[in-house]
Structures are given as C-alpha cells and as structure tokens.
C-alpha cells in the first residue's frame, strides 16, 4: 500500500496537534537551518517488520530509489507506531555495504569467492540437483523419496516463497526438509 505524505501525517495525528496550535514555533532567525521534514517528498510504503513474529507495521520512505527512513506505522493496531531497537534499525538492512549484490561461488578447495552470473549459477545448481537426485533413485525404486539432498530455511521468507519451497522440495522427493521452527 502506498501512502501519500498527507496520509502518513494524518496517521501520525498531526492534524489534531496543528489544530490545537501547539506547533506554531517562534520564527527562527535567518541563521537557523531550514527545518524541512527530510521525508517530505518521499514515497511511502507500508511493510511488516522482518525480525520477531509480533508483526509490527512499518512505513518505508523512499527517495530517488533509496530508502531514507523506516519507522513504525502509527495506524497499525499491534504496534501503533512503536518499534524496538531491531525494528528501528531496519534502515541499515536496506542501506548496507555488507549486503550481497552478486552471485558468489566457491569452487571445491577454493580459498575465496568468485563472482558468477545468475544464468551460470542456476544451470550449475540445477545440474547438481538432478545428478544427485538421479543417483539416489537409480536403484529403480518406485517411491519418490531422496535421502541425499537436504533443504532447510524459510522462517524469514514470505508465505508465497515458503509454499513454493515446500512444493519444490516435495517434487524432488526431498524428505530432509527442515527449518528454524525446529531449532
């Protein structure tokens, strides 16, 4: 859901406060900094915090394709605008030089990562999946079960991703299928 700035300010209860006249500041001198809200012209989008499972609402402000602010969604009934230290730090997930932005590959025995293309990686991985699965099923069994590929993870994925992961794993016959819910 995209919010206009007016919506956001409305959600924040600003209308009522302005009406009470509380925010008529003394005019600052000519030397004072321009105190324009830095998210004034930003595009705003709602999201849900990716950390714990309370499910707090957040508003992401974006300007020139960059996240410039993330704060609690005042309209969200669970958190009503509040966040903990992790939720407040989400900006640094969006803006972080440590984020992965390329496919990386470590060859057997290699001592460092190499950069690869997506096409190369997808082809190579699918080839390894097939070769491993086929080896397991080569005994002519009728049951679609492979014990030699494991698939783990998912508590940080979206529902639709989890569902496809679950579906994909079963198509392959994976039974060593586990994630954070167990640990």
């Amino acid at each position: 859901m995209d919010l206009t700035r007016r919506d956001f300010l409305k959600l924040s209860g600003v209308t009522a406060l302005i009406a009470t006249g509380l925010f008529n500041l003394k005019p600052l001198t000519a030397r004072a900094q321009d105190l324009q809200l830095r998210i004034r012209y930003a595009k705003q989008t709602t999201t849900i915090c990716p950390y714990c499972a309370v499910g707090c609402g957040q508003i992401v402000s974006v300007s020139n394709g960059k996240v410039i602010n993330i704060e609690g969604d005042p309209d969200h009934p669970i958190n009503q605008g509040s966040l903990c230290s992790k939720g407040s730090a989400l900006y640094q997930v969006a803006n972080n030089e440590r984020r992965l932005d390329k496919v990386k590959y470590r060859a057997p025995g290699g001592s460092d990562w190499e950069e690869k293309s997506w096409n190369w990686a997808i082809e190579r991985i699918s080839s390894r999946i097939k070769e491993t699965r086929d080896a397991e099923l080569s005994d002519g069994r009728k049951t679609n079960r492979i014990d030699n590929i494991a698939a783990i993870g998912g508590a940080a994925l979206d529902n639709e991703e989890c569902y496809l992961y679950s579906k994909f794993a079963r198509a392959l016959g994976v039974v060593y299928l586990e994630h954070q819910a167990r640990i």
């Binding site: 003394k26 004072a32 324009q36 230290s85």
Partner: protein, 258 residues
C-alpha cells in the same frame, strides 16, 4: 503565544528495549560508535556527538538482596534556565519559546562553554565538525507536526511528548498511581532549573538514577573564570558581551558580563 512543549520520560514504564536509542540514530542519521561489552548492557557508555540519547542500565539490589533492573533514558532536558544558552558566546544555542534548546550548527564555534557548564553533562564536542551537538527534540519533526523519533517509537508509553501542561497532568496521574503502589515518586524537571522540557517521572530518589537530587547551575563566577581561561582573544571576548545581551535574562547578563 506558543504553548510550551515537553517530553515526559516515565521511568517506571521503561523496559530498556532501546528502540528510542536506535530511532534517534536513524532519524538523525547518526553514525554507530565502536563499543565493547564492559560488563553492563549499557552501550555506548556515555552520550557523544553521535549519540544524543541512551538508556542507562542500573542494577541495584533491594534490602532483601533481591535484584532490580532500572532503565533511565539520558538526553538533553531542555531547561528553561538553560545555562548552555546563557554561556554560549556565539548565540548558536537557541532557546525557543516552545522550550526546545537547539544548537545551530552553522553558528556554533565549538568553544565548549556549554559542554563544561551543563549540570547534566549533555552537550558533546564533535572533533569532526568542530561543533557541539546534542538532542534537539527532533525539532524538524516537531515543526512538522510529528513527535520526536524516540517518543514515536517507545512501545510502552515510557516516552511521551506533547504540551507541557498535558505532560504534567499525565505525570501527576502516574505519580498518584505509583504512590498508591508504595513508591515515593517525583516529577523531576517540573521546577528544576526553571522547569525542564524533558521531565522524568522517577519512582524514587533521583540519585539512584544518576541524576543530581538538586541540579544547580554553576555559579557565574565559575562560568566566567572558565570562559576567560579557554577563550583567549579579544575579538571573541568582545563578541561575548554583545551576544550575552541577546536572548537571555538581562540581569544575569549584567552581573556576569559587565
């Protein structure tokens, strides 16, 4: 006339999640500091130019040796009788009618007069910018009708923001409730230093939270001795007099400066 604003920090409600500490950095785009764990959850150890607020973690034990864990948000208290503004030789520190005490970074000369004289040790000198920096109650947000970042983010209502009259009303209400629960609560900042614009509701003694029981301004004599010592140069001295006349109590300026 502009209504006075205030923050109310209800210490009894704080659980030390430090959402406020990060929200302050996020909104004001402050850098993280390099810290180490030193035996307490509190980090950074003290305020800095990049850390305008932090939660103090205090671990006293009661008479029966039962543990307690107290959390107090440190930040600028935005005093009415703001000694920092009074000693500022360049007029960089503005005390707005709404009560916010704000350092204009374009004007601050970094003389540290405020750093040395603040009874709460709040303003911090920034070696990179050469200026002194501290909490400005998110003046940019406030001016645009939003609450300061820390007050917006607080989950339990330990940090509130609004008209000072309303904050005092809430503080008294909570004071009554805590009194009924057997505490001896105090509204810290209602009167202190002419009344602060960030007040605490303390369930007990101020000293247990590391606050002076009776905060006082340094005497004029001390301020002046210090100013004369650290700011040599006639030009600046000449400037001081004229700035001191501006935006502050005339009587004080007279006894102190002329």
């Amino acid at each position: 006339m502009t209504a006075e604003l205030s923050m109310l920090i209800d210490v009894s409600r704080c659980m030390g999640c430090r959402g406020c500490q990060v929200a302050c950095k996020q909104w004001n785009q402050h850098k993280a500091e390099k810290t180490r764990f030193t035996g307490t959850y509190q980090n950074p150890p003290q305020l800095s130019p990049e850390t305008w607020t932090l939660i103090q973690f205090i671990e006293p034990v009661d008479y029966d040796d039962n543990p307690r864990w107290l959390f107090r948000k440190q930040q600028c208290l935005h005093c009415t009788d703001a000694v920092c503004a009074q000693v500022c030789p360049t007029g960089a520190i503005n005390k707005l009618e709404n009560g916010i005490v704000y350092i204009n970074q374009g004007i601050c000369a970094g003389c540290k007069a405020c750093v040395e004289t603040c009874p709460f040790h709040i303003p911090k000198f920034d070696h990179h910018s050469g200026t002194v920096r501290k909490c400005w109650l998110c003046l940019d947000r406030v001016k645009n009708g939003l609450k300061p970042a820390c007050a917006t983010v607080c989950p339990t209502g330990a940090i509130r923001f609004g008209s000072r009259a309303e904050m005092l009303r809430i503080a008294r209400e909570r004071q009554q409730i805590l009194t009924n629960q057997g505490f001896a609560p105090r509204i810290y900042g209602e009167k202190e230093l002419g009344g602060q614009h960030a007040m605490y509701l303390l369930p007990e003694n101020a000293s247990i939270y590391g606050l002076p029981e009776n905060p006082r301004k340094p005497t004029e004599k001390i301020i002046w001795r210090w100013l004369m010592g650290v700011i040599p140069g006639l030009a600046i001295l000449a400037g001081i007099g004229s700035y001191l006349l501006k935006e502050r109590s005339k009587s004080e300026a007279k006894t102190g400066g002329e």
